[in-house]
Subunit: 172 residues, 2 copies
């Protein structure tokens, strides 16, 4: 029942993959459980490593990821697509500003809102940790052929676009 460090099964044990198939198929929420299983192994170790290495929290990590491809957004926007609670994103933004990794301007059109922008230092920090995430994603998907990957992403897109139909934003 044990896996050794490199993921290979010990001689007298079930092989890891067999065991995974067996176990993961057993719950009453098979698909959700399997998504969680794969994602946990992708995300948790990666994010913990970044947290430790760079002294930032998860909301800070995702805020930098988000701002890297779209600036001038608000804390609420980041909540909406990161799944983090607004209190945590708020704290993260305050911390990032304190470290001069982002800048925020009050929206002239709506004084409640603050528009967020990365500083060069913020962009540089992002550039330090994103390659490991990219590489790990590549490894995760390497068991799928190019066409399977396309297929998988297409189905994921469908699921993602459908999210607003069944999950209210204020649930997060």
């Amino acid at each position: 029942m044990r896996l050794s460090k490199n993921g290979a099964a010990k001689p007298d044990r079930e092989e890891g993959a067999d065991r995974a198939r067996d176990v993961l198929g057993g719950t009453e929420i098979r698909i959700a459980y399997k998504i969680g299983y794969v994602l946990n192994f992708y995300r948790e170790p990666s994010f913990r490593k970044i947290e430790m290495e760079f002294g930032i929290t998860r909301p800070e990590i995702v805020t930098l990821i988000f701002l890297n491809f779209r600036e001038g957004v608000t804390a609420s926007d980041i909540c909406e697509f990161s799944g983090h609670l607004k209190a945590n994103i708020s704290r993260g933004i305050i911390a990032l500003e304190k470290k001069k990794l982002l800048r925020r301007d009050v929206d002239a059109k709506d004084n409640r809102r603050q528009l967020l922008y990365l500083t060069p230092a913020g962009r540089a920090l992002y550039a330090k940790y994103i390659p490991a995430l990219r590489e790990r994603e590549r490894a995760m998907l390497s068991c799928l052929s190019a066409s399977e990957r396309k297929l998988f992403e297409g189905l994921l897109d469908k699921l993602a676009e459908h999210v607003p139909q069944w999950s209210a934003l204020d649930e997060l």
Copy 2:
């Protein structure tokens, strides 16, 4: 840019689904990000509700789910397939035992290990919260046809079986 509570877009804003497609496609780790997006909306609200309603923690929730289909396993086994750290699963098991929701026996073959079994009360508690998780999974997947769902699960299985190849257990 805002979604209203029922997920419908306000008249003068982009529609939720368009916006999601647009935003989610922008990161450097598209597929991982999309998996996280969908899963967050599935898992976080559901689990938080269970936590509050029944006064149990996440490790306790997953321990009950796991034991419901396989008993006589150990804390390590649960770590292996839940993605939770052993300290947290350990605390969860201690709490569940205190509440008489599970029972543990020292393994006669290996005195370090404790074999876990649900009590009827534990099974009853599980039965109270699993229907909502099932229903929410159904809603999440309702945008896929039966054959798309099969396809999606097949690809997920492939990814799950491949996990040991790229992620070491001790990373969790």
